[in-house]
Point group: C2
Chain length 367, copies 2
Amino acid sequence: MAFSFYLPTRVFLGEGVLEEYGDFLGRLGRRALVVTGRKSAVTSGAMADFEELAKRLGLSRVVFDEVPANPTLETVAKAVDLARREDADLVIGIGGGSPMDTAKAVALLVPNRAEAGRLYEADLPELPLPMVAIPTTAGTGSEVTQHAVFTLPAKEIKKGFSDDRCFPVLALVDPRYTYSLPLDITIDTALDTLTHAIEGYLSRRATPLSDTLALEAISLFAGQKEALLAGKLLPATRRDLMYAATLGGMVIAQTRTTILHTLGYPLTYSHDIPHGRANGYLLAAYLEFIRPAEPVKVDNILKVLGMASVEEVAELTRCLLPPPGKFPEKELERMAALAATNGSSLAWTARQATPADLCNILCRSFG
Amino acid sequence: MAFSFYLPTRVFLGEGVLEEYGDFLGRLGRRALVVTGRKSAVTSGAMADFEELAKRLGLSRVVFDEVPANPTLETVAKAVDLARREDADLVIGIGGGSPMDTAKAVALLVPNRAEAGRLYEADLPELPLPMVAIPTTAGTGSEVTQHAVFTLPAKEIKKGFSDDRCFPVLALVDPRYTYSLPLDITIDTALDTLTHAIEGYLSRRATPLSDTLALEAISLFAGQKEALLAGKLLPATRRDLMYAATLGGMVIAQTRTTILHTLGYPLTYSHDIPHGRANGYLLAAYLEFIRPAEPVKVDNILKVLGMASVEEVAELTRCLLPPPGKFPEKELERMAALAATNGSSLAWTARQATPADLCNILCRSFG
């Protein structure tokens, strides 16, 4: 059995990377479209650092700051229009997963002169514009993946697309941009990271190398779980969570995600539960479900987390997250049925899951 | 402090990768220059697999099979001439480090219309031709690095060059190509891998991520050291050594090497000691020298190797390698003085080394 590893993004990680390594950005283009959310790029301090860098590099730029949480293709289309009007030759995503994912889509659509609706088609022949990722949360790992996820209101789902040409060319990962994140977002996004690492480690697509990276990410999370519980977010904690998030991204760049993420999407789409938080609620029940198929790997995860049982994982998420809501059984069944339509996610999950299994995971998490 | 990670090579590793993933190669060019040594590409079975793949892809190819061990720029120049005559648009290195490194140099020189002597200059503006690496030894890691090393007879040294554009686009790493390697070459190259991982781990350029990869490579070597001692080279051993070699390459792609490699070069150049073997002889004395500067990391290495002391490392290399020759003190001093001229290697070594220190490492290894 052969395995692959592909991670072409040039990553710089640490305090001050825009100042120290921003010159790499100057070689990529002259007219940048900067894609951000409404606030986080500014409040994080990333925008000010980027502006300073852009002035130093003489980079012209136009800002699209209308990316909401869980963006739709409508948002993508607006950003594409702006990129075309401004003749952008470089796209920079600053923010959490939503702006970075939007930036990836724009970078691919512009040179292909394609409408946003064609994003999920395989026939976009032109290479994307170079795309640079500057994350302001420690969770998504989008700065080092070829994946992007959008909300499709017509289908009432969130749907990912993946294209190996869509890896950011450059990721400038400065943990200082997460210093101002409130505790709840810090926890939600840290749990997103943890599930990336755990799902990747337990995926049928896991490789020896992705496993090494996944265990390292889990270990970094484990080292900071007391800090998260205590709400003590010192720079060393921020740094480890940021590094863990980037490692988690490197993992799912190889493995993709599995049913945990797929079950989380309708919780976000239909019930407004933040993405990472939804994953956190599902984690313990997911581990219990996978355990019979991967007993050794689940034990390894617990060992690295410093825990003796999956119940301790449940206890941790109970302590970290607000109490999960209750859903009527019909709604749990609807969400499970929706998740069961995602064939590839099911195929990569280590244990074969029926709609009843999926519903059971939701029940245990929200019942 | 910030750190970087860059590894743009698409890697496939496992038995049968040429057959399973060779299609990637077909997208890179139509007229390949295949760079090999005089025998290893054929005896390993790699050439037959490549020929089959090339036929299936309709890839035209011309073979340059004149790369010796420790190639000079003359060899590079001959291969460049052939590539130009044949209008090659793709370069494929099949073999150990020497053919792969030669292939990298050819790929860079051809589009720059540059003579081989200009390889070490920074002003080659054109992007290299795409280069594909198919290793037939488990040692060099060149399949995933931007480095290449050549022998410069006029200066009586081996000298490396590094260019981030020179990473192979694709590495097809099949451990079966090492099945026919004799035990001594297997041991020499495995020790090359081990020193890549150890030097990278102890380098001033080490990063958290390169450390994770380095410890994994050391652990894989440790898992196979009994097999090497017993000369029992089953497929599982071959596979782990190949994977370790690729990980070791990923490490030095981030960290480069340090004085151990630099001290090894004159042993190869002037005394014909195979590269990996020279590194093996030097390993224990190098660890003793570095220990005061990096006591925790040296202990970690010993722990992962399953050893209690550096003396056990010395014992292992004594058991694995033929007895080292003796050199007159003058010659040891000459080689130490030569190594002391490599400023960057000294700068990246964790402990400041004087020429006397370097001579002492040589003395302890060969005295």
